[in-house]
């Protein structure tokens, strides 16, 4: 979590690039075939579920028994029935699955949380990185300690708090998206703030000094000098927070109760559990639609994310 770790692991990325660009001494296939064999087997293992999801989502037969690598008949039917909430469940009756709602809820909650977390985290990180004040050490130690208690472990307490707050302020009570976002923000000062602080520490204070000599206030230095320089790291922190929030199940399932208010993990779990055999096709379509944007963004930001994850170890 330290700045040196962030720096050392980020240094690995250019090293990897250099290794690839190294003048290629062609290796003989008879020496390397086993490496390729391992690589191909590993790729098959990695792609196995992906292939089945893609083919099942386009397969006209939407039961799990008929899932196969090559769809028997390619159709967009699964996407249509899912997006129009017209999925036939186990008994042939319509199974309520407001997928567009879940999708939007998840995106809204995750985006808001990611943005707010990054800004709140950056603000705190700036204070810890640039100011020397009484209680700074203690504050940082305290943050570290508190972060050892993952928020969702206190799920019973959080449920009871939201329940009681909701009696006075129904706007942020049970079943409200706003309540979920606000609860998530409780973790904003945690790992992410440490990650950002580590990066802020590497930005030379001379830049701050020269801006201060020019008459800039602390707020102006923060927004005008430090934040733009840290933009790539902030983007990664935001994405890590986004993915983490998107995956969150415990708190979301506890607070959100109406079917159309649920998030993707909670909704999809409810939708698919107990009816795997019948709604597999529409489920695969939904999984594909939800995974594509995130996976694309992830691959795009990959080399920065790896360093961020190494430092924060938020996922995995």
């Amino acid at each position: 979590m330290s700045s040196s770790e962030l720096a050392s692991t980020t240094a690995a990325a250019p090293a990897a690039a250099a290794a690839v660009k190294h003048p290629r001494s062609r290796l003989k296939f008879k020496d390397t075939w086993w490496r390729h064999a391992v690589g191909v087997v590993a790729m098959c293992a990695a792609l196995f579920p992906v292939v089945y999801i893609v083919s099942s989502s386009f397969n006209s037969n939407s039961s799990l028994q008929s899932a196969q690598v090559i769809p028997s008949h390619v159709t967009l039917h699964n996407f249509g029935s899912l997006l129009h909430n017209n999925v036939k469940g186990n008994t042939g009756a319509k199974q309520d699955a407001p997928y567009p709602h879940w999708f939007l809820n998840s995106m809204l909650i995750s985006l808001l949380t990611a943005l707010a977390t990054t800004v709140l985290g950056a603000l705190a990180a700036y204070a810890f990185s640039r100011f020397r004040f009484k209680g700074r050490r203690g504050g940082m130690m305290g943050l570290l300690l508190i972060q050892m208690f993952p928020q969702f472990v206190a799920v019973a307490a959080i449920y009871l708090i939201v329940l009681n707050v909701g009696e006075v302020f129904p706007q942020i009570g049970l079943d409200k998206l706003a309540a979920v976002v606000i609860v998530y923000l409780g973790g904003a000062m945690g790992v992410q703030a440490w990650l950002i602080k580590g990066f802020f520490d590497t930005i030379p204070t001379e830049l701050d000094e020269s801006a201060r000599v020019d008459g800039a206030t602390a707020a102006q230095i923060f927004w005008g000098v430090v934040m733009p320089l840290a933009a790539p790291v902030l983007a990664v922190v935001a994405l890590i927070s986004f993915v983490f929030t998107l995956n969150e199940f415990v708190i979301a399932s506890t607070i959100l109760q109406t079917t159309s208010h649920k998030t993707l993990p909670v909704g999809m779990q409810l939708f698919i559990s107990n009816s795997y055999d019948k709604v597999w096709g529409p489920f695969a379509a939904g999984a594909l639609l939800a995974a594509l944007p995130v996976a694309a963004l992830f691959m795009f930001l990959q080399r920065w994310i790896v360093s961020g994850l190494t430092a924060g170890s938020v996922k995995g």
Partner: protein, 545 residues
Amino acid sequence: MSTASTPPNPAEPPAFHPGLIARSIAFFSGSVGLGIKVALLAASNALAVWALYVLATHHRWPALGVLVVATLLIDWVYLAPVRWTLPAKFLIPGTVFLVGFQIIPILFTIDVAFSNYSTGHILARDQAIAAIKINSLQPPANGRQYDIAPARDSSGRLVLVMHDETGGKVYLGTPKGLTELSKSDVTIGATGQPTAAKGYKLITGAELFTLDQQLRDYKVPTSGGAAIQPQGTAIGVELKPTLRYDSKRNVFVRITDGKVFHDNGLGSFVSGPDELEPGWKTHIGFRNFSRIIHDPLVRKPFLSIFVWTFVFAAATVFSSFAVGLFLAIVLDKRGLRFQKLYRSVLVIPYAIPGFLSLLVWAGLLNDDFGVINRVFGIHVPWLFGGNVFSWLPFISWPRIAVVLVSVWLTTPYFFLVSMGALQSIPDELTEAARVDGGGAWQIFRRVTLPLLLVAVAPLMIASFAFNFNNFNNVYLLTGGGPYNGASSIAGNTDILISYTYKLAIASGKGSDYGLASAVAIIIFFIVAGISGVSFWRTKSLESLR
């Protein structure tokens, strides 16, 4: 914007090229920035005033006091012309949420862990006593019956027009009590039922049946704690209390036989094995923790879950690391073809949101229709099966499935990390070892692995702490199941956090917030211990400078 890929060397400040973001941020930080600050502060104050008003209407005075003090303090910090509040300006926004949704839940968890807060123990004491009194109402042997007719009064409230056939009197029943009506105002039908009443509109037809639930809860109190309750829509029965609360002795006395139910100090009135419902919420000391140790109904599942949580996390981390390192060593060969392709494909499991992969795997591993069994021509009960070996009850197919899928999810992380770490080991070291006559295995064992572990060990500890609470990997795959008996909350693959979740929220067998919070505190101490070891090892506290 390539600052992340090549972190600026402290020796040479990075050149500052104001990009679009920088310029827009600079634009907003002048007098515009001041305007934004004032606007934000005004908005938060307006919100606070509104919240004060709402709190006042609900008579929540302590909360109101806290809000007033906090708002004034925040205003002062942002407006006071003193320099030393500067750090606070940056820390307050995050701290507000930190206190509200991280620190207070922790404190509340500790409070609940020492209480009996659970289904049946939710009310305050006096509310529970009132509820017990109502619950004790029973029709006596020779109770009076009334012919009733639900009606609406002039303002539309539900009332009962009642006819006492034996006494020949007519009454109006409301939740406030019984009042006699003049007989001339009420028409009585042939069956004794009131058919019309002056000043009241009798409810008839379809509307009557929609009142079913409302009537069942309707009680017209009469003298001595008794009450009249509708049975159906046409008959009202007088109920009498079977229990009497003696406030001096603080006991309930059963009226028929004088049996005494005393306060057991744990939130219930009991007499021997009999307990009056509901109980109330009260502090019970370390009883939740001692239940985990002494109560066989809690201890047995808890012990099994406790051990399995450690095994699950350790197996996931070590297997993932082993596979990831193996792949990194095999594929990280200079000049190897398709290296980039391997790398990007192997990262895919990591790029897909985990919850989706888990739900998909649950389908692929499905015992009956699953693809895995079909493709490999096997019949393994992955998710609902029992023990793999009859002589080793610890290892079950669902547990193996949970670890396998977790390894699938976690391996890319260790693959990437190992690759980075391998590339940062200077070639000179392995070269020197080779010159000294070391074999490939020896070089790996004595040079590469120790150097690698320096970088990767802290990440493995962090990953262990994460997987220790990896709720999704268990719950989305098996739901914590399969279950041994229908009565058990704890399933075969449940880890501590999913067990806590079920205890508190989702067991379908009532909530035990007290026990759930006690388990949460145990989790906290374990994770704190793991993290403590990690910090101690990596000395990351050095960055506190």
